[in-house]
């Protein structure tokens, strides 16, 4: 990029505080899903719709507790019947008070994370104050909707979003469908291939106003059980020392749990299970 006068816009076409709109104007090719080949009826070139083989992320969970929310994800990405990655990180920080986790096509999902991170930071810098949590959740909804053409070709991204709402003084969490539909959940949410199993275990163990400790352990248990039933979900791996990613968002902001901490809890969980 050569140094050139900074971009300016006529009043009618000014993108405002949105980075997504800005990118659409100055560099549309950089948008996720740009240059997506249009499939004809036979799906020549890419295979039939829904059969593109790319790495897929699997189970993620989000649980509310007394002081905020926790978010956890297994580490496996699969490509058909093959394990594409054992160490993928599906839980990411969006800004100081929110986090997002992705299930579905890993590539577009991670691109969406990066776009949302930039979007939130961009808004905050231009406007001088951050978006409300609801505003952030709606922004993600629009991005998922923009991904719909890619989703129709099998590149589905279904994230979970959570954060601490400073105005309400509580943690909140949202799940999404492939069309960008946003559903706020009161207690917990799961998504991905192992989500049914994870959800059932959380349902059985959930209590209102749990401590952070309890919520983290419940999340790890749910992921362990999902991995037990679902081949695409990775369980704790003491041989390679790979354990789920766990993050907490409370009044003080986003914190990712230390790897040692998660390892300790996972080993305890495994021990507890083998004793039964």
């Amino acid at each position: 990029m050569i140094d050139q006068p900074l971009p300016t816009f006529a009043p009618g076409s000014d993108p405002g505080p949105s980075f997504f709109e800005l990118l659409r104007r100055v560099s549309p090719d950089a948008l996720p899903g740009a240059n997506l080949p249009v499939l004809n009826g036979s799906g020549a070139g890419l295979g039939a719709p829904g059969t593109i083989e790319v790495p897929h992320g699997t189970t993620i969970v989000c649980i509310k507790y007394a002081g905020g929310v926790i978010m956890a994800g297994d580490r496996r990405a699969t490509e058909g019947y093959t394990i594409a990655s054992r160490r993928i990180d599906k839980v990411s920080q969006c800004d100081h008070w929110s986090a997002m986790a992705i299930a579905g096509a890993a590539g577009p999902g991670m691109e969406m994370v990066r776009l949302l991170q930039t979007e939130l930071e961009h808004y905050e810098k231009v406007e001088g104050e951050p978006l409300s949590l609801e505003g952030k959740a709606n922004k993600l909804s629009q991005m998922i909707r923009a991904n719909l053409p890619a989703a129709m070709q099998g590149l589905v991204v279904v994230p979970l979003f959570c954060g601490f709402d400073l105005r309400k003084g509580e943690g909140r969490l949202y799940k999404y469908d492939v069309t960008g539909g946003k559903y706020e959940e009161a207690d917990y949410a799961t998504t991905g291939s192992g989500s049914v199993h994870a959800r059932n275990w959380i349902k059985a163990g959930f209590k209102l106003d749990m401590s952070q400790e309890e919520a983290v352990n419940l999340g790890l248990l749910a992921l362990f059980q999902a991995a037990d039933e679902d081949s695409a979900t990775g369980g704790p791996d003491p041989v390679r020392r790979i354990y789920p990613t766990v993050a907490v968002v409370d009044r003080d902001g986003y914190v990712k749990l230390e790897a040692d901490d998660v390892e300790g809890r996972s080993l305890e969980l495994l021990q507890g299970r083998s004793a039964q």
């Binding site: 990029m1 140094d3 050139q4 930071e121 231009v126 001088g128």
Partner: protein, 229 residues
């Protein structure tokens, strides 16, 4: 057909420069100082919401004096430039130098081609990520002139008097409180005033912070630092 009077290019440029300088001199000044852990930006600004100092990117801050609507627009253009660049390449590829060049081009073009020059002076500051990595401060004038500054720099109509005061007192390796006290004292020095914390806008680029190094220091904290002499 009537012919316009001939005005020499020298005269045109001089008139424009005078116009811009006069506009800038109407507002209050701003100082930036390097201290041991980063860069402190101190502006005299009675408004708590209309900022003269802003975050541009992880390591880069923007500060300006002059006409608010003009530098606010430049600030947003800078944020846009930085975020697009960081998104298309990587976060490390966003540099104060490229941004300063962009501003210089924009201001230079407006100065020569538009009816009215921008009545602004801006500063693009970037701190070195690691201990020992140098800071960068680019001071850009209304006509696109860029100056690479070290130690401290002053923006605004009273720059000379304030610089003189700073020259006498500034040393390298100050702590953050001392840097802010020194900046505040210098801002008040031309007409011997004491500036209260609520009349100041203060922010730092703090090397010890994780990714986004920019931090605003609120009035209470500034008052504490000023009292702590």
């Amino acid at each position: 057909m009537s012919m316009p009077f001939y005005v020499s290019p020298e005269q045109v440029m001089k008139d424009r420069a005078d116009y811009a300088r006069k506009g800038i001199a109407r507002g209050r000044s701003l100082v930036a100082l390097e201290y041991a852990g980063g860069i402190a930006l101190v502006a005299e600004n009675p408004s708590g919401t209309l900022h003269k100092i802003s975050e541009i990117y992880d390591r880069i801050a923007f500060a300006a004096v002059g006409k608010y609507n003009e530098f606010e627009m430049l600030k947003i253009a800078g944020i846009r430039h930085a975020d697009v660049r960081g998104y298309s390449y990587s976060r490390e590829d966003v540099t104060a130098r490229a941004l300063a060049n962009g501003y210089a081009q924009t201001l230079g073009q407006v100065f020569t081609h538009e009816m009215k020059p921008y009545e602004v002076e801006i500063l693009v500051a970037q701190i070195g990520e690691q201990e020992g990595e140098p800071n960068e401060m680019f001071h850009i004038l209304y006509d696109g002139t860029v100056m690479d500054e070290h130690g401290f720099t002053v923006l605004g109509g009273q720059a000379e008097a304030i610089s003189d005061s700073l020259k006498a007192d500034y040393t390298e390796g100050l702590d953050v409180g001392a840097a802010i006290r020194l900046g505040t004292k210098a801002l008040g020095s031309p007409d011997d005033r004491e500036i209260a914390a609520d009349q100041l806008e203060v922010a730092v680029l703090d090397r010890t912070r994780p990714r986004r190094k920019f931090r605003r220091i609120d009035d209470d904290e500034v008052a504490g630092l000023l009292a702590n002499a």
